[in-house]
Amino acid sequence: MPPTPKGNDGPTDTTKRSSKKPKLIVSRRCGYNRDPTYLWVIGTSRYAWRIINSRFTQQELPACKPILTPGWVITTFIFVGIIFIPIGLASLFASQQVVEIVERYDSDCISSSFSDKEDFIKRSDTNKTCIKKLLVSSSFLLEMSLRLIPHQLFYENALAVSFQVHKHMKSPVFVYYQIDHFYQNHRRYVKSRSDKQLRSKGYEDLTATCEPEAKTNNGPIVPCGLIAWSLFNDTYGFSVKNKVLEVSKKNIAWKSDKESKFGSNVYPKNFQSSGVIGGAKLNASKPLSEQDDLIVWMRTAALPTFRKLYGHIEVDLEANETITVVIQNNYNTYSFGGKKKLVLSTTSWIGGKNDFLGIAYLTVGGLCLFLAVSFIIVYVAKPRPLGDPSFLSWNRNPAGHLN
């Protein structure tokens, strides 16, 4: 043991330094099967820290170590295929049960004497009533023959349009209006509202986010903002065999919205009173929590093509019936090239008419079964397990000859 040179180690106090220096005490044999204990002693024993080697710190926790064997792969794919195909079939079947009528009316419901559609819609003196007939038909021949009937036999602005709706529509039949190319998800539009103002009368003046539809000379606009200002105002009246079909407006808005987001003490004020009228006018004597159309409209849609619930018809519609719809074509979608459509639809457990889910499930189920079969073929055709020494060329000939 060479003598340690006594030198000037520095200005520090040696006793202070030695008390800070950690002393490592390691117990024997750090084999991986043992549990050695490491003891770090810092300073005096008062600051003793002990890190015990647990299974966690040695990364020896009990675990399962899955590996993708051929068996697992094939089983998984077959299992997914077997589950998905029936779901797909059930969804497709349910979707086929739904009866849906979609009728675009904004291009037809302009009086033929006006060539400029925008002009027609903006004027307040034009007659915006439009009558359409919808045929709930189960016969293809009947539909085709109707298309050939000349226009003059019907009311002014009316068209006989028939749709391939096969059958009886069970109540409730939901009436939606669908608008295309209307960007309710545009950032500035979505911001243009004041939730606090909608909720309670006390916050009437909180209209900062609602510019430009925020205030008039008479005070703040309630409800303020572009969303409310552009409220949809077409109306539809249905009748079948000269009997009026009631469109119920109950429960079209979410209950949670009616109770919490729109106050029952907030009344419309100064609404649509500025120069440019954007949509419907509101009944100033009804509080906002009862203005269902407004509540439905204020839930901004996420996509530029959307449907909103207008109401529901509580009566069954028989097959081969002709429904006459009187449409008040008020809403201006012509300025931006939008489209308006009227939709009548029944529902099933899957929602509206949509084959996508059924087809998607069938596709993925089919793909999985196809993959299972191909993996079986691949594993059977190439059975060589990894590194099986019997396949090595110098092992094929036990005598060691190379050929």
């Binding site: 990364q59 675990a63 051929p70 959307f306 793909l367």
Partner: protein
């Protein structure tokens, strides 16, 4: 050897953020790029904090592809780190590509599917985000090779966290939860087609990676995967077998003319 494994964590981290970010970008195409966020602010913030953070952490800390014993037995494993096999650009871009191609699935199925009955297309996050969270966590579960109890808890716990958060946030009064108020609870959860669509997106998004892993695992395994096979087939105590596997790693082939020439030259050198 376990210090090598955070590489997988990094690849996964890229993947999950790409998967999430591309859905946000794709949504912008629908809003005519006005900058309207696809998701509510809190969901955006919590994606990386609550819903996907812990599995990543657990992957980095706890994952091991082969146990300590095998690491000592097959020291060539360490070459994987030296040769930068695990964090090559090809792997990183591969993971990101996976995220990129699967995110249209998360986002675009919803417009086609027209799920909710009362309001046809409503705000996005209760539809898209669970898809992304599920897929990202299931992807993690598939790519893991060492499943401890902790991994199970954090993976399925993160998914559960999403539902818990969605429920809690939606139940807060509207002045706090703004437009997320009760969206999940009232509009989405009662609709069976909502759940069916989430299931569809999860399975469909994971199938490509699963097939790819199955094929590479079987026919083009990396060194640590070969060792996993050896362990699986119980041949780890056979020295000749292990030696053969060593050679397999060093040289691209163990059969054919090259191998014979090598074997001959080696025996002559001895």
């Amino acid at each position: 050897h376990f210090v090598v494994l955070p590489f997988r964590q990094i690849c996964y981290f890229f993947y999950k953020n790409v998967a999430f970010g591309v859905t946000v970008f794709l949504f912008e195409a629908y809003t005519s790029f006005s900058g309207q966020a696809a998701y509510n602010d809190w969901y955006l913030s919590f994606y990386n904090v609550l819903f996907t953070a812990l599995p990543t952490l657990a992957l980095g800390v706890l994952d091991q592809d082969v146990s300590t014993r095998f690491c000592i037995k097959f020291p060539l494993l360490y070459q994987e780190g030296v040769q930068n096999v695990l964090l090559s650009w090809r792997r990183i871009l591969g993971w990101m590509f996976n995220g990129l191609t699967m995110s249209p699935l998360h986002l675009l199925t919803w417009p086609f599917a027209n799920v909710v009955r009362l309001l046809a297309w409503i705000f996005w996050e209760p539809q898209c985000i669970p898809c992304v969270v599920w897929v990202v966590n299931v992807q993690m579960a598939i790519s893991l090779s060492y499943f401890t109890l902790i991994q199970h808890i954090v993976i399925w716990g993160s998914v559960f966290n999403w539902y818990l958060f969605s429920f809690a946030y939606g139940s807060m009064p509207p002045n706090l939860s703004t437009n997320a108020y009760k969206v999940f609870l009232i509009a989405c959860s009662p609709a069976p087609s909502y759940w069916l669509l989430v299931l569809f997106v999860v399975i469909a998004a994971v199938i490509p990676y699963y097939s790819y892993t199955a094929i590479t695992m079987r026919f083009f395994p990396m060194y640590h995967q070969m060792i996993q096979w050896i362990r699986q087939e119980g041949q780890s105590n056979d020295p000749e077998y292990c030696n053969m596997v060593h050679q397999r790693c060093i040289r691209p082939t163990t059969v054919g003319f090259t191998a014979r020439a090598e074997a001959r030259s080696r025996s002559q050198r001895k």
